[in-house]
């Protein structure tokens, strides 16, 4: 009996307690700092080593490079970089192996689209997806070097 009355008191107090639900989508839902969201691409840092395409478990990255337009510099620059988000599992392996941290994850996760065509993101879209970029990338591909601090 006493337990019942105590229980009723608990629920009555809970009426005025702050609520734990969030109001997504009316308010944005901020993911934690190290969240593996949609990728962000920096074309200037990419050296077209193709490691990200090789390591990708679902083979969703396709990229092409072109010789450096500047005749003095060696190496390639990135020409096209496509990520197929139908099969990307946001596993972060492309970020881990990239020697220059050209591809990093962000905190965005809203990818829902009405057509499968919109899920095939190109270089420009990935470059412009630069909000809430993940700073602590578990970059084992280039432990000493890091593209961005």
């Amino acid at each position: 009996m006493k337990g019942m009355l105590k229980g009723m008191g608990v629920t009555l107090k809970a009426l005025t307690a702050p609520k734990v639900t969030t109001s997504y989508p009316d308010a944005p839902y901020l993911m934690p700092e190290r969240y593996r969201g949609i990728q962000h691409f920096e074309p200037d840092l990419c050296i077209v080593c193709n490691q990200c395409a090789r390591v990708c478990p679902t083979e969703c990255i396709t990229l092409t490079g072109k010789p450096n337009p500047d005749p003095d510099k060696k190496g390639k620059v990135i020409d096209t970089f496509d990520l197929n988000f139908e099969i990307c599992i946001l596993c972060d392996l492309c970020t881990e192996v990239c020697p220059t941290e050209a591809i990093v994850m962000t905190g965005n996760f809203e990818l829902a689209a009405y057509s499968r065509d919109e899920l095939y993101k190109d270089k420009d879209w990935l470059t412009n997806n630069d909000t809430r970029v993940r700073l602590d990338n578990n970059n084992i591909g280039a432990p000493q070097r890091g593209g961005k601090g």
Binding site: M8, T11, K19, V20, T21
Partner: protein, 337 residues
């Protein structure tokens, strides 16, 4: 209404009575819609979340959307189900719940029927809904529905007995079964004249038995959503299911009205200096408190197991209510002669 009932029944008077019935039906339907909404809101707030808030402003149209969904659903009847009984059960459950509302008095002048056996009428009719529940369970041709129906019938009969006996004390104190007479006998001006204090044991037994009669948590085993797969209304979809839900909430209205009338002084103010507030406001406040209490209880308590439930009904509530009758009789004999 009293003048309307005692004057000769011409076509105009019959139409007026019919229209008053329609008004009550609309009020009760509005109550059911917003009782469902407030139940979800109150239970949500008590569980550290907000209830429905997306459909309409503040989620007020949530029940409307739910009822619309139920109306538009396919009306399935299982192939081997007893068709006539299957169709009859929801109707048979709902009709008594609405007819018992006729005896509940709202104020001195606002009442629908002035039956001298009003309380007996109420108790007798609410038993018919039990029959409809067993009918629904049987007609569904589903052993889980049948189990749910039988459990529900067992629960409702075993709690009907203490419910009626606990009210006998009130009847003895007021000397009448007429609900308006019972409210009049509580008119002392102060809240300690109301029946819940002299009849505290009867009140406690009544509250527990009423919650059980309504099939609400903690006694909601017949509709145990997570255990018996919705019990006796598992095969009902669409509008027929809506009828069972409507029955439950109309009974909430009826029981809250009855509790207010029998134990909480009906339309009387709790103190003489508050007399200027109209009686209907006091009735509404007490009614709202009882309905809130039912929601509060649902948010707090877990479900009682069926054997504990039967044990509680027969071994605790029945002796208590009988003892209440004897003690009330003894007190009346000793202190009022």
């Amino acid at each position: 209404m009293g003048s309307l009932l005692s004057s000769p029944m011409t076509w105009e008077h019959a139409l007026a009575v019919f229209l008053w019935g329609v008004v009550l039906m609309l009020i009760v339907l509005g109550f059911v819609t917003y009782a469902i909404y407030f139940e979800r809101k109150v239970i949500g707030w008590m569980q550290f979340r907000i209830g429905p808030n997306r459909v309409g402003p503040l989620g007020l149209l949530q029940s409307v959307a739910d009822i619309l969904k139920l109306l538009l659903k396919e009306d399935t009847i299982p192939r081997k189900a007893d068709r006539m009984l299957f169709v009859l059960a929801p109707v048979l459950a709902f009709v008594p719940s609405f007819t018992v509302l006729a005896v509940i008095p709202y104020t001195q002048k606002l009442y629908f029927a002035d039956l001298n056996v009003g309380l007996l009428y109420y108790v007798a009719l609410s038993g018919i809904s039990t029959l409809a529940i067993v009918l629904g369970g049987w007609a569904s041709n589903n052993k889980y529905a049948l189990l749910g129906g039988m459990r529900s019938a067992a629960q409702m009969i075993s709690y009907e007995v203490p419910l009626v006996i606990s009210v006998t004390g009130v009847v003895m104190l007021s000397g009448t079964l007429n609900l308006r007479g019972i409210v009049d006998s509580q008119s002392g001006g102060w809240f300690w004249d109301w029946n819940f204090i002299p009849q505290i044991v009867g009140f406690a037994v009544f509250v527990v038995a009423a919650v059980s009669e309504l099939n609400r948590t903690p006694f909601d085993l017949p509709e145990a959503e997570s255990e018996l797969v919705a019990g006796y209304h598992v095969e009902y979809s669409g509008f027929r299911f809506a009828f069972f839900m409507l029955t439950e909430y109309v009974y909430v209205y009826a029981i809250a009205g009855l509790t207010t009338t029998l134990f909480l002084g009906g339309w009387h103010a709790p103190a003489p200096f508050l007399d200027f507030v109209p009686g209907i406001v006091w009735f509404a406040l007490k009614f709202t408190f009882i309905v809130f209490f039912l929601f509060w209880l649902r948010a707090t308590m877990p479900r009682i197991r069926v054997d504990q439930l039967m044990g509680l009904g027969w071994k605790v509530l029945l002796p208590l209510s009988l003892a209440n009758v004897f003690i009330t009789a003894a007190c009346i004999e000793l202190f009022q002669r």
